[in-house]
């Protein structure tokens, strides 16, 4: 039997994890759906019927992204919740699976299945809400207002509302891929903190992330630099980038791919080192 990865053993780990956790996951999504529903109802009740900004594509896009990040961080933090106490930690660590298989389990659940499930919940709830808002929309008498675009956001399929006419399609691909990389980096950091810190792990992880953010912003502010410049190499077409030498592109793409990759590799080591200790 392969000590690093064995498919049959990994499947058993998957089944065991599902059997242990499906109830808590189901409740997690029920809570998310209730929160989303409350915001939707409030939006429909309180929104200006001449605009319904909340149900236009731009707001729906932000809604989706914010919801995914917020719930994803909570989900990722809870994924290794068993590391909270010594007893439960031991049970997790003693599961008959390799460190790599446990790491794959986290990647599968947090990095893939969770965004899919979240998207399904978002679609099931927001699609009818957007359709309802479209029906209720009353065109304004104000001649300045633009015509609203009532569209739900669907990852990797929605086109930018401002990309009309369609001969100039502007999909969200670049922004979406950047978002995926950042999301993966964020959840990896959350899970790493959850495993590494033995007490008050969530608080310490948040403090670490906040400290890094403030540190980065301070350095940028002192140098008058753009703290998010790497993203521009990915989201902006080549002719508009600030500089386009091969070294610049290598560094920019190195940041985009490298940081999430290193954080996930770090997560692997954190699981492994927790097993050793």
């Amino acid at each position: 039997m392969n000590q690093v990865f064995d498919a049959a053993r990994f499947l058993r780990l998957l089944r065991a994890h599902w059997a242990e956790s499906w109830r808590s996951y189901a409740w997690f999504f029920v809570v998310c759906a209730i929160l989303n529903g409350v915001v939707l109802v409030m939006g429909l009740q309180l929104a200006d019927k001449h605009r319904y900004v909340e149900f236009q594509q731009s707001t729906q896009t932000s809604w989706y992204a914010f919801g995914l990040v917020a719930t994803g961080i909570v989900f990722a933090t809870r994924f290794f919740d068993n590391f909270n106490e010594a007893g439960s930690t031991l049970i997790v660590l003693m599961k008959p699976a390799s460190t790599f298989e446990k790491w794959c389990l986290a990647l599968l659940y947090v990095g893939m299945l969770f965004p899919l499930a979240y998207t399904m919940v978002y679609l099931c709830m927001n699609y009818p809400a957007v359709a309802y808002a479209k029906m209720q929309y009353v065109p304004p008498t104000d001649h300045i207002s633009t015509i609203p675009v009532f569209q739900i956001y669907l990852p990797f399929t929605s086109m930018h509302a401002e990309s009309w006419p369609p001969d100039f399609p502007e999909p969200f691909y670049r922004e979406e891929l950047l978002f995926v990389f950042n999301f993966l980096a964020g959840v990896a950091l959350c899970m790493s903190g959850r495993i590494y810190f033995k007490r008050a792990a969530v608080l310490k992880t948040w403090l670490l992330a906040f400290g890094l953010l403030v540190f980065g912003l301070c350095i940028s502010a002192l140098n008058g630099a753009d703290p998010f410049i790497a993203g521009q190499y990915w989201t902006i077409y080549s002719e508009q980038r600030p500089t386009t030498t091969m070294l610049d592109l290598t560094v920019a793409y190195g940041i985009l791919f490298g940081v999430p990759m290193l954080l996930w590799i770090g997560l692997y080591f954190h699981i492994k080192e927790r097993e050793v200790s």
């Binding site: 001649h143 300045i144 633009t146 015509i147 675009v149 509302a161 401002e162 009309w164 006419p165 369609p166 001969d167 100039f168 980096a185 950091l189 790493s192 590494y196 890094l212 540190f215 980065g216 350095i219 940028s220 140098n223 008058g224 630099a225 753009d226 703290p227 410049i229 790497a230 521009q232 190499y233 902006i236 508009q240 980038r241 600030p242 500089t243 030498t245 610049d248 560094v251 920019a252 190195g254 940041i255 490298g258 940081v259 290193l262 954080l263 590799i265 770090g266 997560l267 692997y268 080591f269 954190h270 492994k272 080192e273």
Partner: protein
């Protein structure tokens, strides 16, 4: 205490942080700092648009060239309640010509919220549909209407006149407005506005003697020429502007 440095997980996290910060610092070091005035492309006389300053913010490539009004000499309200309106338009070759005229036709004004009669209907190329009119002297082209034109020529005959252009891709567009509103520009006597948003234009020329010109950030222009009167309020910003040329209208 120093056990922390023996852990590969910590080192990997450190490597990610170093890669992030060092990489960002390197990329920022490659971008020229500060703002650069590009007044050299601005050509106006002493009576011209002295209140206008153009700055190119180097280091913010996504915004390209920003147009900013430092001391607006006129303020034009967006409120305009003209009721009588007429629109005449025709197609010259593959060019759609829209002509706005505030004067009433034969004493009977054309109310823009009225359905256009067959006679008045705009002759447009097949790629243009759903021209939308409101009752306040306003032209808007529907956001849900895909519009692509080789050229668009818009002429304003009388003032005040308002026009919004949205979601069009045009190779060459000219907007001409020589009229002056009677009386000083104010909320009660606006000189009208020209607004553009979500446009992709290769070559845009706007001549306006009065009112305001507002180019939203979503307007992408390869080459722009603005011929503006001294009182014209220019606002907004033009993204991805590569070549701007401004002259004043005598």
């Amino acid at each position: 205490m120093f056990d922390v440095f023996k852990k590969k997980g910590v080192w990997t996290l450190g490597a990610a942080v170093v890669l992030l910060f060092m990489g960002q610092m390197y990329l920022n070091s490659q971008v020229p700092k500060g703002k650069q005035n590009i007044d050299s492309v601005v050509n106006f006389d002493s009576q011209g648009i002295h209140a206008l300053r153009i700055e190119k913010e180097i280091g913010t490539p996504s915004r390209g060239l920003s147009l900013k009004v430092v001391e607006p000499v006129a303020h034009v309200s967006a409120t305009f309640n003209s009721s009588a309106y007429a629109l005449a338009s025709h197609v010259e070759g593959d060019v759609l010509v829209l002509t706005f005229n505030l004067s009433k036709k034969n004493g009977k004004g054309k109310y823009l919220d009225d359905p256009l009669s067959e006679k008045d209907q705009v002759l447009v190329p097949a790629s243009i549909r759903d021209l939308e009119f409101s009752n306040t002297g306003f032209l808007r082209i529907s956001k849900e209407t895909p519009i692509e034109l080789g050229a668009l020529d818009v002429r304003f005959v009388d003032c005040p006149t308002n026009a919004n252009f949205e979601n069009m891709a045009i190779d060459k567009m000219t907007v001409t407005k020589h009229c002056q509103a009677s009386g000083a520009p104010s909320e009660s006597h606006p000189s009208g506005y020209i607004r553009m948003s979500s446009m992709k234009i290769k070559n845009l020329e706007i001549t306006s003697a009065s009112g305001s010109v507002d180019l939203a950030e979503s307007v992408k222009v390869d080459a722009l020429q603005l011929n503006l009167g001294a009182d014209v309020l220019l606002s907004g910003s033009v993204a991805l502007l590569r070549n701007a040329h401004l002259v004043s209208v005598p």
